[in-house]
């Protein structure tokens, strides 16, 4: 009898067996036994007490993305569990590995509308990779082991363990054993040799090939393999929002970001390529524009670990089902060295025009007494942050501009909410990102709207001294929506102006040093002070509400219909092939 432990103890020992040393959690009635047990293990596991469960799960997402380990979240039942839903959905869309543990009413009370009972299984099944209710302590080790295996292998995702209170205090003698096999789940399918051979042949035959790099490459740690393949066959690489930083921004074959607010080169050339090699990406509608006119000249080669992505949005001419790294490494010896100089240069020609239109000092303006533009801030912060910096963003204009113009030097350098576009993601995700990569500078770009969705997490920064650099692009508007209203709704700014608090004072009340930056003239010195300061810092940067994100492909247009400003659509010169 003496070697029996409680279900809560079994859970914590399981976490330790999985090398978890940090969890993101918030206590409450039906999870108290777990936090009680964690009290005995404070030397092994640190809990980060966020100020809201949504903050906990976004922080865990940030942590997972920079540390390449599953993020662990622990919350109570009912309202705490429902506060996690946005993060679960976000992690599901963006393939982020999470193990989320929620407390639950005792098994005997399930279905009775007990206090703080909510149907976590029913709610989470559509937005989690796997949900399981632990109703007996004997199931803890089994379920937790499966949870870690499922969350972190294959196409990663969030897993939910709904842990009834009685199971937390029951006794069990089941020891923890990591899970390596689930018969109904094949995390790493072996790529078919014939598919690899066909893929190589398609690549060898192409004269205008282009790689669309998604986060699948980051997840598979296939960055080196990607680089080797792209260099050997001289293939330009464009990245999805989440695929950014798979190649350094300075790599001559890296041609920029795809999609609605991507760079001109890759978007225009998508419709001129004769071969699209899509790797670990899912042809999101923000990337493709209208699918009917997507890549009309190209054969599509789709490489992904998730078979259900094949032919879901875009029909592929050939597919390779497997892990990006295994597939790319298998392709490398079969791919012939090639040169596509003219084609590769054509990306730069388009991108130069973009640069001249929106990304030069002239385009930004030079008046030192005026508000800086968002692109300018992104460029300057990126320069000051230096090598190895991680960009975290919220959602909106701040996201698009910073993601596009940040200079990435190493892999895993962007943490952003891509699929779900969750405002409020940024601040907590930045906290987790810093905790997952403490040695790297973490710069958060956020808007005044999004920041206020989870602004209470400034308290978490205060409590843990997390050295996050917060760049608040403050236009006193819900800027991204304002931009659509300006362009497509006759400037009717319905419900987008915002009366904001004094962010500098707000930060100060949390003990976070902050500065107001009203003008371009003040920007550079403020950025330098922020980056030199050892600890968290907030820059409240005044942005003209009329500042917009261009280029832009509006909804319902082909990917090569690109607005350069409110009135001009990009017309490539005939000499750019």
């Amino acid at each position: 009898m003496s070697d029996k432990i409680t279900g809560a103890e079994a859970l914590v020992r399981g976490l330790i067996a999985e090398h978890v040393d940090r969890v993101f959690g918030y206590p409450g009635g039906y999870i108290i036994p777990v936090f009680d047990t964690l009290y005995d293990y404070t030397d092994r596991i640190t809990n980060v007490l966020t100020r809201h469960e949504q903050g906990a799960i976004h922080a865990a997402q940030g942590y997972a993305r920079t540390s390449h380990r599953p993020g662990v979240v622990i919350a109570t039942s009912g309202p705490a569990a429902t506060n996690l839903i946005t993060g679960l959905s976000d992690a599901m869309m963006d393939s982020t590995p999470l193990v989320v543990i929620t407390g639950q009413a005792p098994a005997s009370m399930l279905g009775t509308d007990a206090f703080q009972e909510t149907d976590v299984m029913g709610i989470t099944q559509p937005i989690a990779k796997w949900s399981y209710q632990i109703r007996h302590a004997d199931k803890v080790a089994w379920a937790l082991a499966r949870a870690f295996h499922i969350a972190s292998t294959g196409r990663p995702g969030p897993v939910v363990l709904d842990f009834t209170k009685d199971a937390q205090i029951q006794l069990t003698d089941r020891a923890y054993e990591p899970c390596r096999f689930i018969r109904s789940y094949i995390p790493k399918p072996t790529p078919a040799e014939a598919d690899i051979a066909l893929a190589a042949e398609m690549i060898n035959r192409a004269s205008r090939p282009m790689i669309l790099a998604g986060q699948g490459i980051t997840i598979a740690e296939a960055e080196q393999a990607l680089k080797a393949l792209a260099e050997k066959a001289h293939i330009p690489v464009a990245a999805t929002l989440l695929g950014l930083s798979v190649l350094p921004s300075s790599h001559p074959l890296f041609k920029g970001m795809l999609g609605m607010h991507g760079n001109i080169g890759p978007n225009i050339n998508t419709n001129r390529a004769d071969l699209i090699i899509a790797i670990g990406m899912r042809f999101d509608d923000r990337v493709t524009g209208v699918t009917e006119s997507y890549a009309p000249q190209a054969r599509i080669l789709h490489i992904d670990i998730d078979r259900s992505e094949f032919n879901k949005n875009i029909r592929a001419h050939a597919t390779v089902h497997g892990d990006a790294r295994e597939v790319l490494e298998a392709l490398l010896p079969l791919v012939k060295p090639a040169r596509h100089d003219e084609w590769v240069r054509s990306f730069d020609r388009h991108n130069t025009i973009e640069h001249e239109n929106v990304d030069t000092t002239a385009a930004y303006g030079t008046d030192p007494t005026k508000a800086p533009t968002m692109g300018e801030v992104a460029r300057k912060v990126s320069e000051a942050a230096g090598a190895g910096a991680i960009l975290v963003t919220d959602v909106g204009q701040n996201q698009m501009l910073s993601a596009r113009y940040f200079r990435y030097t190493s892999p895993r350098s962007i943490v952003t909410s891509g699929g779900l576009g969750t405002m409020g993601f940024g601040l907590p995700a930045a906290i987790g990102a810093k905790m997952g990569a403490p040695e790297r500078p973490v710069c958060l770009f956020t808007g005044d709207g999004g920041l206020q969705m989870t602004v209470q997490e400034l308290g978490t920064i205060m409590q843990y001294g997390t050295a996050v650099k917060i760049i608040l692009l403050n236009n006193n508007f819900l800027g991204n929506v304002r931009q659509w209203q300006a362009l497509f709704f006759n400037g009717r700014f319905s419900q987008t102006p915002m009366l904001n608090p004094d962010f500098k004072t707000l930060a100060a009340s949390y003990g976070i040093p902050a500065e107001d930056v009203a003008t371009r003239g003040e920007l550079q010195c403020a950025i330098t002070r922020m980056m030199e300061h050892d600890g968290p810092y907030l820059l409240n940067i005044n942005i003209d509400p009329a500042d917009m994100v261009f280029p832009m492909t509006p909804v319902g247009k082909p990917v090569d219909y690109i607005m350069l400003n409110p009135s001009d659509v990009y017309q490539p010169l005939p000499d750019i092939s």
Binding site: M121, G122, Q125, P126, K129, W130, S131, Y132, Q133, I150, F181, I182, R183, S184, Y185, D306, R307, S308, E309, F310, N311, K312
Partner: protein
């Protein structure tokens, strides 16, 4: 060859672990794609511990490919397939409840039951329950005929189906998984 247009009736068969909430996981996938489930049935199958769920719905082949992909992605699902009617042997059971006095008064009823190869399951002075196993059109035809005789209740089961293929894909898959494990 069966043609595949938007309105082909497909039979989806799902082999899964016997975990709580599986049906919910499956129905979500159909709901999200705005697919109406025509019928559903679930039972154990020849493989110990494995559950088989059969769902029918009208759709197109490309949609079915997507749906099967998303079903198989669920961790607890072992394998999923879709078939057109020519690829499977399938049946449905229907029960009909008619008032016994009407049965006795109208001697056609007995003749109808015989003609349809149906049978009487239970007779009381008040009601008679008739059972018919067959394809949808057959149970439907009997339904239409019995409607003339004050039919009180009618229920048709979901489809049960086995494949015509000589290859047992799920057994092979599971055997292969077991040998790979070690």
């Amino acid at each position: 060859m069966t043609t595949h247009d938007e309105s082909t009736l497909y039979t989806v068969t799902v082999f899964s672990e016997n975990h709580v909430g599986l049906l919910n996981q499956l129905s979500i996938i159909f709901t999200r794609r705005c697919l109406n489930i025509e019928s559903i049935s679930a039972s154990t199958c020849s493989i110990p511990g494995v559950h088989k769920i059969v769902i029918t719905c009208h759709s197109s082949q490309s949609m079915m490919d997507k749906v099967i992909g998303q079903i198989e992605k669920r961790i607890d699902v072992i394998k999923a397939f879709y078939f057109t009617d020519d690829e499977i042997v399938y049946q449905e059971v229907a029960l009909y409840k008619v008032p016994t006095p009407v049965m006795l008064r109208e001697n056609h009823v007995e003749e109808i039951i015989r003609r349809h190869n149906a049978r009487i399951l239970e007779i009381t002075p008040e009601y008679t329950v008739i059972e018919k196993t067959g394809h949808y059109s057959e149970t439907e035809e009997l339904f239409r005929e019995l409607q003339r005789y004050e039919l009180k209740q009618f229920m048709r089961s979901g489809r049960v189906a086995v494949t015509r293929s000589p290859i047992e894909h799920v057994d092979n898959f599971l055997n292969q998984r077991l040998t790979n494990e070690y």
